[in-house]
Subunit: 394 residues, 2 copies
C-alpha cells in the first residue's frame, strides 16, 4: 500500500516535554513541506485533547523564523497532555480525522502516546479509512523498548552529568560534606546512571548511583556514604526520583505530601531531600540535596548536539514512512555496530512498543559498588554529544 493522493497531516505531542521534542516537530514540518504528498500540516494543541476539542494550529501558516526557532526552544511547542484516552474517545478521534480528511497522523510521545497511536491505527483499519499512523519516540527517561535510545534522553543525560560534575567541584571545597542529587526517572535509572559520565577519576563525583532497578536499602546507602566521607571527607551521590524499597514503596512517599492525580499516579520528587535528613540523623553528617527537576529537561544550554540531530531525524523519518505507505509503526533509532557512533532509523510495530518499558539491563548495573558498569558508559557516552566542560584542580 502506498499513498498516491495528496493528504493532510496531523501531529500531536504527548507526555512530558524534552529539550528536543520541538526538533522532531521541526524535522517533521520541514520534511512535510518538502514533500509533494502532503497537503495541510496541522498541529493538535495539548496532545490528543486538541483533537478531542478541535484545537488546531496550521503549521504551514507559521513564519519561517518560528519554525526554525523550534529547534532551540524547550517545552512542547504544541502543548502536551497526560490525558488517558478513554475507549469512547476513539470514535470521536476517528470522526475528527474523517471530517478533516486527515491522511497522516503522528503522535510524538512515550509509551502512553504509542498506545493511543496504535488504537487509532487499528480503528482506522477496522473502519476501512485510509490513514497512515506513525509514532515518534520521545522521553528523557529512555524507557521505550525496541530503540537503541529515545530522543530527549541524550540532552537530559548531558544536563545530569554536567550538573553533577559542577556539584562535585563545589562540594569538595566545602565543609558540608554530603550532597544527594536527585535525577528524574520514575521507574528507570537511565538518567541517574548518566551522572557516571561526570566522573574523571576515582575521587571525583559521583561516588554512588541508586537506580529504581534495584531495591533501595537504607543501611547500605548510609554505609556507602559513611565510607566515602571517611575516605575523602565528602561525598556526592545520585538517586533516581523513583527509587523504591524492597516492598515496592517509593522513597519519595516518605518525604512529605504525596500528590496523586485522578489515575492514582503520584507525583514523584523528594527522595533526595528525605535521604539528606536521614544522613544527618543517622550519621551526624550535614547533607544537602539538589533537585533541578524539570529544569533538567528544558535546558537548551545543555542540549546534546547528537540528540538534537537525531530528534530532527526521527521527525523526518516519520514523514518518509507514511509516504512509503507505512502505518502502525514507531520510528526507532538503530545504532551501527563497530566504529564511530552512528544511528540510522528503523520501524517497529506500535503494538509491540505500546505500554512496554525498557529498564536498565543487569549488565549496566554494578551492584557491588552501587554504580554503573563500563558497558553502560560506553553505551551512553556518545549520546551526550561531546565532552563535558573540563576543570582544573590545584
Amino acid at each position: 500500500m502506498s499513498s498516491k493522493v495528496k493528504g493532510d497531516l496531523l501531529i500531536a505531542q504527548g507526555g512530558g516535554p524534552t529539550a528536543v521534542i520541538n526538533c522532531s516537530l521541526y524535522g517533521l514540518v520541514r520534511q512535510a513541506q518538502e514533500s509533494e504528498s502532503v497537503g495541510k500540516i496541522l498541529g493538535a494543541r495539548k496532545g490528543i485533547t486538541g483533537v478531542l476539542n478541535e484545537d488546531l494550529v496550521d503549521l504551514r501558516k507559521q513564519p519561517k523564523a518560528i519554525i526554525e526557532g523550534l529547534r532551540n526552544s524547550p517545552g512542547a511547542a504544541l502543548g502536551s497532555c497526560r490525558y488517558k484516552v478513554a475507549e469512547d474517545d476513539y470514535p470521536k478521534i476517528m470522526d475528527f480525522i474523517k471530517r478533516h480528511r486527515i491522511r497522516y497522523f503522528f503522535y510524538n510521545g512515550g509509551n502512553d502516546s504509542m498506545d493511543t497511536a496504535n488504537k487509532v491505527n487499528l480503528l482506522a483499519e477496522r473502519e476501512g479509512y485510509e490513514l497512515y499512523v506513525i509514532g515518534i519516540p520521545k522521553t528523557i527517561d529512555n524507557d521505550l523498548p525496541f530503540t537503541d535510545h529515545t530522543p530527549g534522553y541524550g540532552s537530559a543525560a548531558r544536563y545530569v552529568a554536567q550538573s553533577v560534575r559542577d556539584l562535585g567541584m563545589d562540594i569538595r571545597a566545602l565543609p558540608t560534606p554530603v550532597s544527594i542529587f536527585e535525577a528524574m526517572g520514575r521507574n528507570t535509572g537511565w538518567l541517574a546512571a548518566a551522572s557516571s559520565l561526570a566522573k574523571t577519576d576515582k575521587d571525583s563525583a559521583p561516588h554512588h548511583i541508586y537506580m529504581p532497578e534495584r531495591a533501595f536499602e537504607m543501611e547500605k546507602f548510609l554505609a556507602d556514604i559513611e565510607s566515602e566521607v571517611g575516605r575523602l571527607g565528602w561525598a556526592v551521590v545520585v538517586v533516581s526520583e523513583g527509587i523504591r524499597t524492597a516492598d515496592g514503596k517509593p522513597v519519595y512517599e516518605a518525604s512529605g505530601v504525596t500528590q496523586a492525580d485522578q489515575f492514582g499516579h503520584t507525583l514523584p520528587g523528594g527522595a533526595a531531600s528525605f535521604l539528606a535528613g536521614e544522613v544527618y540523623r543517622e550519621l551526624k553528617l550535614r547533607a544537602r540535596s539538589e533537585k533541578p527537576g524539570i529544569c533538567g529537561r528544558a535546558s537548551i544550554l545543555c542540549v546534546s548536539v547528537v540528540d538534537q540531530a537525531e530528534a530532527e531525524m526521527v521527525g523526518r523519518a516519520a514523514v518518509d514512512a507514511v509516504i512509503k505507505g507505512e502505518s502502525g509503526k514507531m520510528v526507532t533509532l538503530e545504532r551501527k555496530c563497530g566504529g564511530k557512533y552512528k544511528c540510522t532509523t528503523g520501524l517497529v510495530p506500535l503494538v509491540d512498543v505500546a505500554n512496554a518499558e525498557n529498564k536498565m539491563p543487569d549488565e549496566f548495573i554494578d551492584d557491588d559498588s552501587a554504580f554503573v558498569t563500563a558497558a553502560f558508559c560506553e553505551y551512553a557516552k556518545p549520546l551526550l554529544g561531546g565532552d563535558l566542560l573540563e576543570y582544573v584542580h590545584l
Copy 2:
C-alpha cells in the same frame, strides 16, 4: 606608607564557592606574577584553617595551564571553610604570618571572611608588624554592603533567570499546573529577584517572587497562585530558600529535618517542596518544586561574562592596592553613572563591611504584585552579561 621591599603573598578563599571565585584567584595570581614587589605567591588550603594547619600551596609552582584553567573552573580551587575564627586563633595566625614573613594577606570571601581579615589587620597594626591586608568580595547572595554588587552574583543570577525561563517553557505545556522554584539566599532575595529577568511578557514565567525581605504570608501566597492558575492555567513562582513567616521562622523548617551545625546555623533548603505540598493540600492543584541548589553557583555554562571579568578585576585590584600600601580595606565595585554599564574598583574599610548585610532596598520590591520593580531589573540586567536564550511559541 608604601611597601618598597619585595614581600611574600598569602591568599585564602572563604565561605561558599561561586562560579567565578577562581577568576579572582586567577586575577590575583597573574597580577602578582606581573609585579616586582611580590615574592612567593602562597595559597592557604581550606580557607583560614589552612593557615592554622599550615596547609599551603605554592601558586608560583603551578603549571600555566592550571592557572589559566582557574578562570573556567567552579568550586573554590584552594578549598574553603566555614570555620568561625576564635579569639585565641588570632595569635596563631599572626605567628604563622610572621614565621612565613608574609607581607600581603588576602581573604576572598563574604561577611565572615571580611571580619577575619579585619581582625588580622588590626592585630598586625597592634604588634607593629608590616602587613597589608585586603579583602576580596565574593558571594552569590549579593549581600555585602558598600559595593554595587558582589562578584559571583551575576553568574548565579544568570543561572536562576535562564533556569526559570526554561522551566516556564516546560510547565506551560503541561497538565501539572504549578511549579515552585527555590533560589538560594538565606537572608536576602537578590537571587530569587533575578528570576524576573526571565520574563518576556505578562504571561511568561515567573509570575511571583517571594523574598526574605518580606514576611511570608501563606494565605497571600496561595491566593496569588490560585489567581494565576485561574488566569493562565499554570503558574511558575520563585521563592528564596530563606523566606520566613512574620514570627521570623524560616519556612524550610516546616519541610523536614532541620540540620544545625556547631554554631547553630541551620542548613536552609526545602521551602519550595513544602509549599508545593501546601498548594496541593489547600488548592487541590498539582504542584512541583525545583531546587537546583548548589548546581546554580557552580555552573560555568551559565557564567556571566561580565561577572567573570569583574571577578578577575577585583583580584588584580587587590594586588594593586597592597602595592600602593593600602591595608584594612575591601575591594568594591563602583558602577559608573549614566551611559553604558561599566564598573571600576574602589576600596572601603574592612571594619565597615565586616558582619554587615546588604538587603534588597524597598524600591526594588513591588509588594502589591509580589514581584520586583523596574528599578531592580535595570540594576540587575547588565550583571547577567548578555541576553538569555530566546525561545519561540507557536
